[in-house]
Protein backbone atom coordinates (compact mmCIF):
# COMPACT_ATOMS: atom_id res chain seq x y z
CA UNK A 1 0.00 0.00 0.00
CA UNK A 2 1.27 3.52 -0.83
CA UNK A 3 2.41 5.77 1.96
CA UNK A 4 0.57 9.10 2.01
CA UNK A 5 2.31 10.65 5.02
CA UNK A 6 5.88 9.92 6.03
CA UNK A 7 7.27 11.46 9.18
CA UNK A 8 10.88 10.82 10.19
CA UNK A 9 12.52 12.00 13.40
CA UNK A 10 10.54 15.23 13.32
CA UNK A 11 11.50 17.78 15.96
CA UNK A 12 10.17 21.22 16.77
CA UNK A 13 11.88 23.31 19.41
CA UNK A 14 10.57 26.83 19.97
CA UNK A 15 12.54 29.75 21.37
CA UNK A 16 13.43 29.26 25.02
CA UNK A 17 14.16 25.56 24.40
CA UNK A 18 10.45 24.71 24.44
CA UNK A 19 10.44 21.24 22.90
CA UNK A 20 6.97 20.91 21.41
CA UNK A 21 7.66 17.83 19.26
CA UNK A 22 10.47 15.43 20.12
CA UNK A 23 11.73 13.08 17.46
CA UNK A 24 8.52 11.52 16.21
CA UNK A 25 8.29 9.10 13.29
CA UNK A 26 5.31 7.42 11.71
CA UNK A 27 3.82 6.49 8.33
CA UNK A 28 0.20 6.77 7.25
CA UNK A 29 -1.01 4.62 4.36
CA UNK A 30 -3.10 5.95 1.53
CA UNK A 31 -6.78 5.91 2.44
CA UNK A 32 -6.07 5.39 6.13
CA UNK A 33 -7.64 7.47 8.89
CA UNK A 34 -4.88 8.15 11.37
CA UNK A 35 -5.43 9.81 14.71
CA UNK A 36 -3.10 11.88 16.85
CA UNK A 37 -4.53 11.63 20.33
CA UNK A 38 -3.37 13.64 23.29
CA UNK A 39 -4.13 16.55 25.57
CA UNK A 40 -3.52 20.19 24.78
CA UNK A 41 0.21 20.81 24.66
CA UNK A 42 1.02 17.25 23.61
CA UNK A 43 2.36 18.46 20.25
CA UNK A 44 -0.52 17.44 17.98
CA UNK A 45 -1.20 20.83 16.45
CA UNK A 46 2.52 21.58 16.09
CA UNK A 47 2.86 18.31 14.20
CA UNK A 48 -0.03 19.26 11.92
CA UNK A 49 1.52 22.72 11.55
CA UNK A 50 4.78 21.17 10.32
CA UNK A 51 2.94 18.87 7.93
CA UNK A 52 0.93 21.79 6.53
CA UNK A 53 4.08 23.96 6.26
CA UNK A 54 2.90 26.63 8.69
CA UNK A 55 5.45 25.55 11.31
CA UNK A 56 9.11 25.08 10.32
CA UNK A 57 10.60 21.83 11.64
CA UNK A 58 13.76 22.21 13.72
CA UNK A 59 14.98 18.91 12.30
CA UNK A 60 13.71 15.75 10.73
CA UNK A 61 11.67 15.25 7.59
CA UNK A 62 8.10 14.79 6.49
CA UNK A 63 6.49 14.06 3.17
CA UNK A 64 2.95 14.28 1.89
CA UNK A 65 2.30 12.04 -1.11
CA UNK A 66 6.05 12.03 -1.66
CA UNK A 67 6.54 15.80 -1.43
CA UNK A 68 8.97 17.02 1.20
CA UNK A 69 7.25 19.69 3.30
CA UNK A 70 10.47 21.71 3.71
CA UNK A 71 11.98 21.37 0.25
CA UNK A 72 8.75 21.40 -1.78
CA UNK A 73 6.17 23.22 0.34
CA UNK A 74 4.02 24.34 -2.60
CA UNK A 75 3.72 20.80 -3.91
CA UNK A 76 3.02 19.46 -0.41
CA UNK A 77 0.29 22.06 0.07
CA UNK A 78 -1.17 21.31 -3.36
CA UNK A 79 -1.97 17.71 -2.36
CA UNK A 80 -3.39 18.53 1.07
CA UNK A 81 -6.16 20.51 2.75
CA UNK A 82 -6.76 21.47 6.35
CA UNK A 83 -9.82 21.91 8.53
CA UNK A 84 -8.56 24.04 11.37
CA UNK A 85 -9.46 23.82 15.02
CA UNK A 86 -10.86 27.37 15.08
CA UNK A 87 -13.16 28.89 12.50
CA UNK A 88 -10.96 30.04 9.62
CA UNK A 89 -13.46 31.85 7.42
CA UNK A 90 -14.20 35.29 6.05
CA UNK A 91 -17.50 36.08 7.70
CA UNK A 92 -18.47 38.68 5.14
CA UNK A 93 -18.11 36.28 2.20
CA UNK A 94 -20.66 33.70 1.16
CA UNK A 95 -20.12 29.99 1.51
CA UNK A 96 -19.94 29.72 -2.27
CA UNK A 97 -17.14 32.30 -2.37
CA UNK A 98 -15.14 30.23 0.11
CA UNK A 99 -15.49 27.09 -1.99
CA UNK A 100 -14.75 28.97 -5.19
CA UNK A 101 -11.62 30.64 -3.79
CA UNK A 102 -10.30 27.30 -2.54
CA UNK A 103 -10.94 25.71 -5.95
CA UNK A 104 -9.09 28.51 -7.73
CA UNK A 105 -6.12 28.55 -5.38
CA UNK A 106 -5.80 24.77 -5.61
CA UNK A 107 -6.08 25.07 -9.41
CA UNK A 108 -9.26 23.06 -9.94
CA UNK A 109 -10.53 23.63 -13.49
CA UNK A 110 -13.55 25.99 -13.35
CA UNK A 111 -15.91 23.53 -15.06
CA UNK A 112 -14.85 20.78 -12.66
CA UNK A 113 -15.06 23.11 -9.67
CA UNK A 114 -18.71 23.93 -10.36
CA UNK A 115 -19.65 20.25 -10.37
CA UNK A 116 -17.67 19.50 -7.22
CA UNK A 117 -19.14 22.44 -5.33
CA UNK A 118 -22.65 21.38 -6.31
CA UNK A 119 -22.07 17.79 -5.24
CA UNK A 120 -20.28 18.61 -2.02
CA UNK A 121 -22.84 21.16 -0.94
CA UNK A 122 -25.57 18.63 -1.59
CA UNK A 123 -23.74 15.87 0.29
CA UNK A 124 -22.93 18.08 3.26
CA UNK A 125 -26.33 19.72 3.45
CA UNK A 126 -25.10 23.15 2.45
CA UNK A 127 -27.02 23.70 -0.78
CA UNK A 128 -29.49 26.13 0.75
CA UNK A 129 -26.83 28.06 2.63
CA UNK A 130 -24.21 28.63 0.00
CA UNK A 131 -25.26 32.13 -1.03
CA UNK A 132 -25.50 33.46 2.51
CA UNK A 133 -22.61 35.26 4.23
CA UNK A 134 -20.76 32.82 6.46
CA UNK A 135 -21.26 35.16 9.40
CA UNK A 136 -24.90 34.03 9.45
CA UNK A 137 -24.00 30.31 9.73
CA UNK A 138 -24.34 28.31 12.93
CA UNK A 139 -21.24 26.61 14.34
CA UNK A 140 -22.17 23.28 12.79
CA UNK A 141 -22.98 24.79 9.40
CA UNK A 142 -19.69 26.65 9.38
CA UNK A 143 -17.79 23.50 10.23
CA UNK A 144 -19.53 21.60 7.43
CA UNK A 145 -18.61 24.41 5.06
CA UNK A 146 -14.97 24.18 6.13
CA UNK A 147 -14.99 20.43 5.48
CA UNK A 148 -16.59 20.99 2.08
CA UNK A 149 -13.99 23.64 1.31
CA UNK A 150 -11.17 21.28 2.19
CA UNK A 151 -12.61 18.61 -0.10
CA UNK A 152 -13.14 20.81 -3.17
CA UNK A 153 -9.57 20.21 -4.27
CA UNK A 154 -9.85 16.43 -3.70
CA UNK A 155 -6.76 16.37 -1.50
CA UNK A 156 -4.63 13.27 -1.18
CA UNK A 157 -4.22 14.14 2.49
CA UNK A 158 -6.86 15.85 4.64
CA UNK A 159 -5.94 17.26 8.04
CA UNK A 160 -8.75 17.58 10.56
CA UNK A 161 -7.39 19.48 13.55
CA UNK A 162 -9.75 18.95 16.49
CA UNK A 163 -12.76 19.16 14.16
CA UNK A 164 -15.43 18.92 16.85
CA UNK A 165 -13.98 21.19 19.53
CA UNK A 166 -16.44 23.79 20.75
CA UNK A 167 -19.49 22.23 19.13
CA UNK A 168 -22.57 21.31 21.11
CA UNK A 169 -23.19 17.56 21.56
CA UNK A 170 -25.87 17.32 18.88
CA UNK A 171 -23.80 19.09 16.24
CA UNK A 172 -20.75 17.10 17.30
CA UNK A 173 -22.64 13.83 16.82
CA UNK A 174 -23.81 14.98 13.39
CA UNK A 175 -20.30 15.93 12.41
CA UNK A 176 -18.88 12.60 13.53
CA UNK A 177 -21.47 10.87 11.36
CA UNK A 178 -20.42 13.08 8.49
CA UNK A 179 -16.71 12.38 8.89
CA UNK A 180 -17.39 8.65 9.28
CA UNK A 181 -19.39 8.80 6.06
CA UNK A 182 -16.59 10.59 4.25
CA UNK A 183 -14.14 8.02 5.47
CA UNK A 184 -16.18 5.27 3.85
CA UNK A 185 -16.62 7.12 0.57
CA UNK A 186 -13.28 8.80 -0.04
CA UNK A 187 -9.85 7.49 -0.84
CA UNK A 188 -8.40 10.50 0.90
CA UNK A 189 -5.95 9.89 3.71
CA UNK A 190 -7.16 11.62 6.85
CA UNK A 191 -4.98 12.73 9.74
CA UNK A 192 -7.22 13.65 12.63
CA UNK A 193 -6.12 15.25 15.87
CA UNK A 194 -8.37 14.99 18.85
CA UNK A 195 -8.49 14.72 22.58
CA UNK A 196 -11.87 12.97 22.49
CA UNK A 197 -11.46 9.24 22.95
CA UNK A 198 -14.80 8.29 21.44
CA UNK A 199 -13.97 10.28 18.36
CA UNK A 200 -10.60 8.60 17.95
CA UNK A 201 -12.02 5.15 18.56
CA UNK A 202 -14.88 5.58 16.14
CA UNK A 203 -13.05 7.21 13.26
CA UNK A 204 -9.44 6.08 13.27
CA UNK A 205 -7.85 2.99 11.76
CA UNK A 206 -4.74 3.64 13.83
CA UNK A 207 -3.85 5.98 16.63
CA UNK A 208 -0.69 7.60 17.87
CA UNK A 209 -0.92 8.75 21.45
CA UNK A 210 1.19 11.84 22.01
CA UNK A 211 2.48 12.99 25.36
CA UNK A 212 4.86 15.87 25.94
CA UNK A 213 5.89 15.95 22.30
CA UNK A 214 6.55 12.23 21.95
CA UNK A 215 4.56 9.35 20.52
CA UNK A 216 4.14 6.99 23.45
CA UNK A 217 2.02 4.39 21.64
CA UNK A 218 0.96 3.70 18.07
CA UNK A 219 -1.43 0.99 17.00
CA UNK A 220 -5.05 0.26 16.18
CA UNK A 221 -7.54 1.25 18.89
CA UNK A 222 -8.32 -2.43 19.42
CA UNK A 223 -4.68 -3.40 19.81
CA UNK A 224 -4.02 -0.54 22.20
CA UNK A 225 -6.88 -1.67 24.40
CA UNK A 226 -5.91 -5.30 24.07
CA UNK A 227 -2.61 -4.53 25.80
CA UNK A 228 -4.63 -4.13 28.97
CA UNK A 229 -6.35 -7.50 28.64
CA UNK A 230 -10.04 -8.33 28.56
CA UNK A 231 -11.06 -6.59 31.76
CA UNK A 232 -9.81 -4.20 34.36
CA UNK A 233 -10.65 -3.61 37.98
CA UNK A 234 -10.88 -0.04 39.18
CA UNK A 235 -10.92 0.64 42.90
CA UNK A 236 -11.01 3.80 44.93
CA UNK A 237 -9.19 4.11 48.21
CA UNK A 238 -9.45 6.78 50.91
CA UNK A 239 -5.73 7.55 51.05
CA UNK A 240 -2.22 6.23 50.28
CA UNK A 241 -3.01 4.80 46.82
CA UNK A 242 0.68 4.13 46.15
CA UNK A 243 0.97 1.92 49.23
CA UNK A 244 -2.24 0.11 48.29
CA UNK A 245 -0.92 -0.47 44.77
CA UNK A 246 2.35 -1.86 46.14
CA UNK A 247 0.39 -4.24 48.32
CA UNK A 248 -1.65 -5.43 45.32
CA UNK A 249 1.54 -5.92 43.34
CA UNK A 250 3.02 -7.95 46.18
CA UNK A 251 -0.06 -10.13 46.20
CA UNK A 252 0.44 -10.85 42.48
CA UNK A 253 -2.90 -9.36 41.43
CA UNK A 254 -1.48 -6.15 40.00
CA UNK A 255 1.21 -6.23 37.34
CA UNK A 256 3.58 -3.54 36.14
CA UNK A 257 0.83 -2.02 34.01
CA UNK A 258 -1.40 -1.27 37.02
CA UNK A 259 -1.44 2.39 37.89
CA UNK A 260 -2.84 4.91 40.33
CA UNK A 261 -4.19 8.35 39.52
CA UNK A 262 -5.36 10.32 42.50
CA UNK A 263 -7.10 7.86 44.79
CA UNK A 264 -8.14 5.57 41.94
CA UNK A 265 -6.18 2.41 41.22
CA UNK A 266 -6.62 0.65 37.90
CA UNK A 267 -5.55 -2.97 37.53
CA UNK A 268 -5.60 -4.78 34.16
CA UNK A 269 -6.77 -8.36 34.68
CA UNK A 270 -4.68 -10.32 32.22
CA UNK A 271 -4.91 -13.76 33.75
CA UNK A 272 -7.29 -13.20 36.64
CA UNK A 273 -11.02 -13.69 36.86
CA UNK A 274 -12.80 -10.58 38.10
CA UNK A 275 -14.46 -12.34 41.03
CA UNK A 276 -11.12 -13.79 42.07
CA UNK A 277 -9.60 -10.32 41.75
CA UNK A 278 -12.27 -8.77 43.92
CA UNK A 279 -11.75 -11.43 46.57
CA UNK A 280 -8.00 -10.91 46.41
CA UNK A 281 -8.43 -7.16 46.97
CA UNK A 282 -10.55 -7.80 50.05
CA UNK A 283 -8.01 -10.33 51.36
CA UNK A 284 -5.16 -7.85 50.95
CA UNK A 285 -6.53 -5.69 53.75
CA UNK A 286 -7.24 -2.69 51.54
CA UNK A 287 -10.62 -1.16 52.27
CA UNK A 288 -11.69 0.36 48.94
CA UNK A 289 -14.61 2.77 48.91
CA UNK A 290 -15.68 1.41 45.51
CA UNK A 291 -14.75 -1.42 43.17
CA UNK A 292 -15.73 -1.56 39.49
CA UNK A 293 -14.98 -4.19 36.90
CA UNK A 294 -15.21 -3.15 33.27
CA UNK A 295 -13.65 -3.44 29.83
CA UNK A 296 -10.57 -1.31 29.21
CA UNK A 297 -10.97 1.93 27.28
CA UNK A 298 -8.55 4.18 25.46
CA UNK A 299 -8.68 6.39 28.52
CA UNK A 300 -7.08 3.56 30.49
CA UNK A 301 -4.46 3.15 27.78
CA UNK A 302 -3.68 6.83 27.96
CA UNK A 303 -3.57 6.83 31.75
CA UNK A 304 -1.19 3.91 31.80
CA UNK A 305 1.11 5.59 29.29
CA UNK A 306 1.11 9.08 30.67
CA UNK A 307 -0.26 9.05 34.16
CA UNK A 308 -2.64 11.87 33.21
CA UNK A 309 -6.36 11.95 32.67
CA UNK A 310 -6.87 12.71 28.99
CA UNK A 311 -10.17 14.52 29.17
CA UNK A 312 -9.07 16.48 32.23
CA UNK A 313 -5.87 17.57 30.58
CA UNK A 314 -7.57 18.63 27.37
Amino acid sequence: MDTAIEVRQLVKTYAGDVRAVRDISFDVDRGEVFGLLGPNGAGKSTTVGMLTTTVAPSSGAARLAGFDVVRSPLEARSVSSVVFQEAVVDRALTGRSHLDIHARLWRVAPSEAGDRIARLSETLGLADLLDRPVGTYSGGERRRLEIARALVSRPSVLFLDEPTVGLDPRVRAELLDLIAGLRDRLETTILLTTHYLDEAERLCDRLAIMHEGKIVALDTPHALRADLGEKIVELRVRDQPAAALDRLRDSGLAGRDAFAVGTTITIPLHDHDDTVATAEIERSGIAPTAITTREPTLDDVYLRLTGGQLHNAA
Binding site: G60, D68, S72, L74, L105
Partner: protein, 279 residues
Protein backbone atom coordinates in the same frame (compact mmCIF):
# COMPACT_ATOMS: atom_id res chain seq x y z
CA UNK B 1 18.27 27.24 15.43
CA UNK B 2 19.34 25.18 12.43
CA UNK B 3 17.02 23.20 10.24
CA UNK B 4 18.16 19.73 9.29
CA UNK B 5 16.25 17.62 6.81
CA UNK B 6 16.50 13.92 6.13
CA UNK B 7 16.39 12.59 2.62
CA UNK B 8 13.63 10.03 2.44
CA UNK B 9 14.91 8.82 -0.90
CA UNK B 10 12.08 9.52 -3.27
CA UNK B 11 12.30 11.62 -6.42
CA UNK B 12 10.36 14.85 -6.23
CA UNK B 13 7.73 15.11 -8.97
CA UNK B 14 7.72 18.46 -10.69
CA UNK B 15 4.63 20.63 -10.50
CA UNK B 16 4.42 23.15 -13.34
CA UNK B 17 2.67 26.32 -12.29
CA UNK B 18 2.44 29.99 -13.02
CA UNK B 19 3.14 31.61 -9.65
CA UNK B 20 1.14 34.71 -10.56
CA UNK B 21 -2.06 33.02 -11.65
CA UNK B 22 -3.57 33.01 -8.11
CA UNK B 23 -2.91 36.74 -7.74
CA UNK B 24 -6.19 37.65 -9.39
CA UNK B 25 -8.06 35.28 -7.06
CA UNK B 26 -6.40 36.77 -3.98
CA UNK B 27 -7.03 40.34 -5.13
CA UNK B 28 -10.65 39.56 -5.98
CA UNK B 29 -11.17 38.05 -2.56
CA UNK B 30 -9.69 41.09 -0.85
CA UNK B 31 -11.83 43.41 -3.00
CA UNK B 32 -15.00 41.50 -2.06
CA UNK B 33 -14.10 41.82 1.60
CA UNK B 34 -13.32 45.52 1.22
CA UNK B 35 -16.55 46.45 -0.54
CA UNK B 36 -18.47 44.57 2.13
CA UNK B 37 -16.82 46.80 4.72
CA UNK B 38 -17.82 50.34 3.67
CA UNK B 39 -15.90 51.88 6.55
CA UNK B 40 -12.69 50.80 4.82
CA UNK B 41 -13.70 52.93 1.85
CA UNK B 42 -15.26 55.91 3.58
CA UNK B 43 -13.49 56.55 6.87
CA UNK B 44 -10.01 57.31 5.45
CA UNK B 45 -11.60 59.90 3.14
CA UNK B 46 -13.40 61.87 5.83
CA UNK B 47 -10.46 63.76 7.31
CA UNK B 48 -8.80 64.68 4.01
CA UNK B 49 -12.08 65.86 2.52
CA UNK B 50 -12.77 67.84 5.67
CA UNK B 51 -9.37 69.49 5.29
CA UNK B 52 -9.78 70.19 1.59
CA UNK B 53 -13.32 71.53 1.74
CA UNK B 54 -13.70 73.09 5.17
CA UNK B 55 -10.40 73.71 6.92
CA UNK B 56 -8.44 74.99 3.92
CA UNK B 57 -11.08 77.61 2.98
CA UNK B 58 -11.36 78.57 6.65
CA UNK B 59 -7.59 78.98 6.93
CA UNK B 60 -7.58 81.02 3.74
CA UNK B 61 -10.28 83.26 5.19
CA UNK B 62 -8.70 83.60 8.60
CA UNK B 63 -5.12 84.04 7.42
CA UNK B 64 -6.01 86.13 4.34
CA UNK B 65 -3.97 83.87 2.09
CA UNK B 66 -4.46 83.54 -1.66
CA UNK B 67 -6.82 81.05 -3.31
CA UNK B 68 -3.75 78.99 -4.24
CA UNK B 69 -3.46 78.09 -0.57
CA UNK B 70 -6.65 76.08 -0.86
CA UNK B 71 -5.07 74.12 -3.68
CA UNK B 72 -1.91 73.78 -1.60
CA UNK B 73 -3.85 72.23 1.28
CA UNK B 74 -6.04 70.14 -1.01
CA UNK B 75 -2.96 68.50 -2.50
CA UNK B 76 -1.42 68.28 0.95
CA UNK B 77 -4.38 66.22 2.12
CA UNK B 78 -3.39 63.53 -0.36
CA UNK B 79 -0.46 63.02 2.00
CA UNK B 80 -2.92 62.25 4.77
CA UNK B 81 -5.31 60.16 2.72
CA UNK B 82 -2.67 57.72 1.46
CA UNK B 83 -1.23 56.80 4.89
CA UNK B 84 -4.67 56.59 6.51
CA UNK B 85 -6.07 54.39 3.77
CA UNK B 86 -3.12 52.05 3.60
CA UNK B 87 -2.99 51.75 7.39
CA UNK B 88 -6.68 50.82 7.39
CA UNK B 89 -5.92 48.19 4.76
CA UNK B 90 -3.14 46.83 6.96
CA UNK B 91 -5.54 46.66 9.88
CA UNK B 92 -7.83 44.41 7.89
CA UNK B 93 -4.88 42.06 7.32
CA UNK B 94 -4.38 41.85 11.07
CA UNK B 95 -8.09 41.24 11.65
CA UNK B 96 -7.95 38.54 9.00
CA UNK B 97 -5.10 36.88 10.87
CA UNK B 98 -7.02 36.98 14.15
CA UNK B 99 -10.49 36.03 12.97
CA UNK B 100 -10.49 35.57 9.21
CA UNK B 101 -9.34 33.06 6.65
CA UNK B 102 -5.64 33.88 6.58
CA UNK B 103 -4.60 30.41 7.76
CA UNK B 104 -6.52 28.84 4.88
CA UNK B 105 -4.55 31.06 2.49
CA UNK B 106 -1.29 30.10 4.19
CA UNK B 107 -2.15 26.43 3.62
CA UNK B 108 -2.83 27.08 -0.08
CA UNK B 109 -0.32 26.07 -2.76
CA UNK B 110 0.49 29.70 -3.43
CA UNK B 111 3.79 31.52 -2.88
CA UNK B 112 3.16 33.52 0.28
CA UNK B 113 4.44 36.84 -1.05
CA UNK B 114 1.44 36.75 -3.40
CA UNK B 115 -0.86 37.06 -0.39
CA UNK B 116 0.74 40.43 0.34
CA UNK B 117 0.69 41.50 -3.30
CA UNK B 118 -2.98 40.54 -3.68
CA UNK B 119 -3.85 42.82 -0.78
CA UNK B 120 -1.57 45.56 -2.14
CA UNK B 121 -3.38 45.58 -5.48
CA UNK B 122 -6.69 46.29 -3.78
CA UNK B 123 -5.27 48.85 -1.34
CA UNK B 124 -3.67 50.60 -4.30
CA UNK B 125 -6.90 50.61 -6.31
CA UNK B 126 -9.00 51.88 -3.42
CA UNK B 127 -6.45 54.62 -2.66
CA UNK B 128 -6.42 55.70 -6.30
CA UNK B 129 -10.19 55.87 -6.27
CA UNK B 130 -10.17 57.94 -3.10
CA UNK B 131 -7.58 60.37 -4.44
CA UNK B 132 -9.73 60.72 -7.54
CA UNK B 133 -12.77 61.48 -5.38
CA UNK B 134 -10.77 63.98 -3.32
CA UNK B 135 -9.56 65.83 -6.40
CA UNK B 136 -13.03 65.74 -7.94
CA UNK B 137 -14.64 67.12 -4.80
CA UNK B 138 -11.96 69.81 -4.50
CA UNK B 139 -12.54 70.89 -8.08
CA UNK B 140 -16.29 70.94 -7.52
CA UNK B 141 -15.61 73.23 -4.56
CA UNK B 142 -13.84 75.58 -6.94
CA UNK B 143 -10.24 74.70 -6.15
CA UNK B 144 -8.08 75.12 -9.23
CA UNK B 145 -5.39 72.65 -10.30
CA UNK B 146 -2.76 73.41 -12.91
CA UNK B 147 -2.07 70.12 -14.61
CA UNK B 148 0.32 70.57 -17.51
CA UNK B 149 0.83 67.63 -19.86
CA UNK B 150 3.53 65.23 -18.75
CA UNK B 151 3.74 66.95 -15.36
CA UNK B 152 0.87 64.74 -14.26
CA UNK B 153 3.20 61.76 -14.50
CA UNK B 154 5.24 63.14 -11.59
CA UNK B 155 2.04 63.27 -9.55
CA UNK B 156 0.96 59.78 -10.59
CA UNK B 157 4.41 58.28 -10.03
CA UNK B 158 4.98 59.96 -6.69
CA UNK B 159 1.53 59.13 -5.33
CA UNK B 160 1.66 55.55 -6.62
CA UNK B 161 5.08 54.76 -5.20
CA UNK B 162 4.26 56.39 -1.89
CA UNK B 163 1.06 54.32 -1.69
CA UNK B 164 3.03 51.14 -2.34
CA UNK B 165 5.58 52.06 0.32
CA UNK B 166 2.96 52.94 2.91
CA UNK B 167 1.17 49.67 2.27
CA UNK B 168 4.47 47.90 2.89
CA UNK B 169 4.71 49.80 6.18
CA UNK B 170 1.17 48.71 7.06
CA UNK B 171 1.90 45.04 6.28
CA UNK B 172 5.11 45.24 8.29
CA UNK B 173 3.29 46.69 11.27
CA UNK B 174 0.47 44.16 10.98
CA UNK B 175 3.03 41.34 10.99
CA UNK B 176 4.86 42.73 14.01
CA UNK B 177 2.10 43.63 16.45
CA UNK B 178 0.00 41.00 18.19
CA UNK B 179 -3.36 42.76 18.31
CA UNK B 180 -5.56 45.31 16.56
CA UNK B 181 -5.41 47.55 19.63
CA UNK B 182 -1.62 47.81 19.44
CA UNK B 183 -1.81 48.38 15.71
CA UNK B 184 -4.28 51.24 16.07
CA UNK B 185 -2.23 52.84 18.83
CA UNK B 186 0.72 53.16 16.43
CA UNK B 187 -1.20 54.56 13.47
CA UNK B 188 -1.04 58.24 14.53
CA UNK B 189 2.75 58.15 14.80
CA UNK B 190 3.08 56.59 11.36
CA UNK B 191 0.24 58.19 9.41
CA UNK B 192 -0.45 61.57 11.00
CA UNK B 193 2.66 63.00 12.68
CA UNK B 194 4.78 62.94 9.49
CA UNK B 195 1.95 64.71 7.67
CA UNK B 196 2.32 67.78 9.86
CA UNK B 197 6.08 67.88 9.20
CA UNK B 198 6.17 67.08 5.48
CA UNK B 199 4.98 70.37 4.08
CA UNK B 200 1.29 69.49 3.93
CA UNK B 201 -0.11 72.73 5.34
CA UNK B 202 2.96 74.99 5.04
CA UNK B 203 6.40 74.79 3.41
CA UNK B 204 8.98 72.79 5.34
CA UNK B 205 11.20 75.90 5.43
CA UNK B 206 8.72 77.41 7.86
CA UNK B 207 9.74 74.78 10.41
CA UNK B 208 12.65 75.20 12.82
CA UNK B 209 15.88 74.40 11.00
CA UNK B 210 16.44 70.99 12.56
CA UNK B 211 12.89 69.97 11.68
CA UNK B 212 13.34 71.23 8.14
CA UNK B 213 16.31 68.90 7.84
CA UNK B 214 14.31 66.09 9.39
CA UNK B 215 11.45 66.72 6.95
CA UNK B 216 13.82 66.43 3.99
CA UNK B 217 14.36 62.80 4.94
CA UNK B 218 10.66 61.94 5.12
CA UNK B 219 9.43 60.07 2.03
CA UNK B 220 6.13 61.92 2.41
CA UNK B 221 7.89 65.26 1.89
CA UNK B 222 9.23 64.00 -1.43
CA UNK B 223 5.89 62.48 -2.42
CA UNK B 224 4.03 65.73 -1.67
CA UNK B 225 6.60 67.78 -3.55
CA UNK B 226 6.03 65.54 -6.59
CA UNK B 227 2.25 65.71 -6.20
CA UNK B 228 2.32 69.50 -6.11
CA UNK B 229 4.70 69.72 -9.00
CA UNK B 230 2.40 67.46 -11.01
CA UNK B 231 -0.96 68.89 -10.00
CA UNK B 232 -0.16 72.57 -9.38
CA UNK B 233 2.96 73.01 -11.52
CA UNK B 234 4.53 74.25 -8.28
CA UNK B 235 8.18 73.12 -7.84
CA UNK B 236 8.69 75.02 -4.56
CA UNK B 237 8.46 71.82 -2.52
CA UNK B 238 11.25 70.29 -4.60
CA UNK B 239 13.36 73.43 -4.20
CA UNK B 240 12.86 73.36 -0.44
CA UNK B 241 14.23 69.83 -0.36
CA UNK B 242 17.06 69.87 -2.90
CA UNK B 243 17.91 73.59 -3.46
CA UNK B 244 18.99 72.83 -7.04
CA UNK B 245 18.22 74.62 -10.33
CA UNK B 246 16.92 71.85 -12.55
CA UNK B 247 13.34 71.02 -11.63
CA UNK B 248 13.44 67.80 -13.62
CA UNK B 249 16.55 66.64 -11.81
CA UNK B 250 15.03 67.45 -8.44
CA UNK B 251 11.80 65.65 -9.37
CA UNK B 252 13.77 62.65 -10.55
CA UNK B 253 15.75 62.56 -7.31
CA UNK B 254 12.57 62.76 -5.22
CA UNK B 255 11.05 60.02 -7.35
CA UNK B 256 14.11 57.90 -6.60
CA UNK B 257 13.66 58.51 -2.89
CA UNK B 258 9.99 57.54 -2.99
CA UNK B 259 10.80 54.56 -5.21
CA UNK B 260 13.47 53.35 -2.80
CA UNK B 261 11.00 53.80 0.06
CA UNK B 262 8.41 51.74 -1.83
CA UNK B 263 10.87 48.98 -2.67
CA UNK B 264 12.31 48.77 0.83
CA UNK B 265 8.97 48.79 2.64
CA UNK B 266 7.36 46.31 0.23
CA UNK B 267 10.29 43.95 0.68
CA UNK B 268 10.07 44.38 4.46
CA UNK B 269 6.31 43.82 4.42
CA UNK B 270 6.63 40.60 2.41
CA UNK B 271 9.53 39.35 4.50
CA UNK B 272 7.84 40.03 7.81
CA UNK B 273 4.56 38.52 6.63
CA UNK B 274 6.13 35.34 5.29
CA UNK B 275 8.37 34.93 8.33
CA UNK B 276 5.46 35.58 10.67
CA UNK B 277 3.36 33.05 8.78
CA UNK B 278 5.69 30.18 9.70
CA UNK B 279 6.10 29.35 13.35
Amino acid sequence: MTTRTLDLGRPLPSLPRNPFSPLATLARRRLHLTVRTPRELLVPMLTPILFALVIAPALKEALHTSSSYEAYVATGTIGLLIPLNTMFAGLSVLVERESGAQRELLAAPVPRPLLVLGNLIVAFGVTALQIGVLIGVARARGIHFDVAGPGVLWFLGGAALFTVGMYGAAESLAARVPSAEEYISRVPAIAIVPWFLAGSLFPITALPTFLTWFARFLPLTHALALVRYGLLNDPSGLHNIWRMHSVTEMAALSMLVVGAFAAALTAAGIRLFTRGAVG
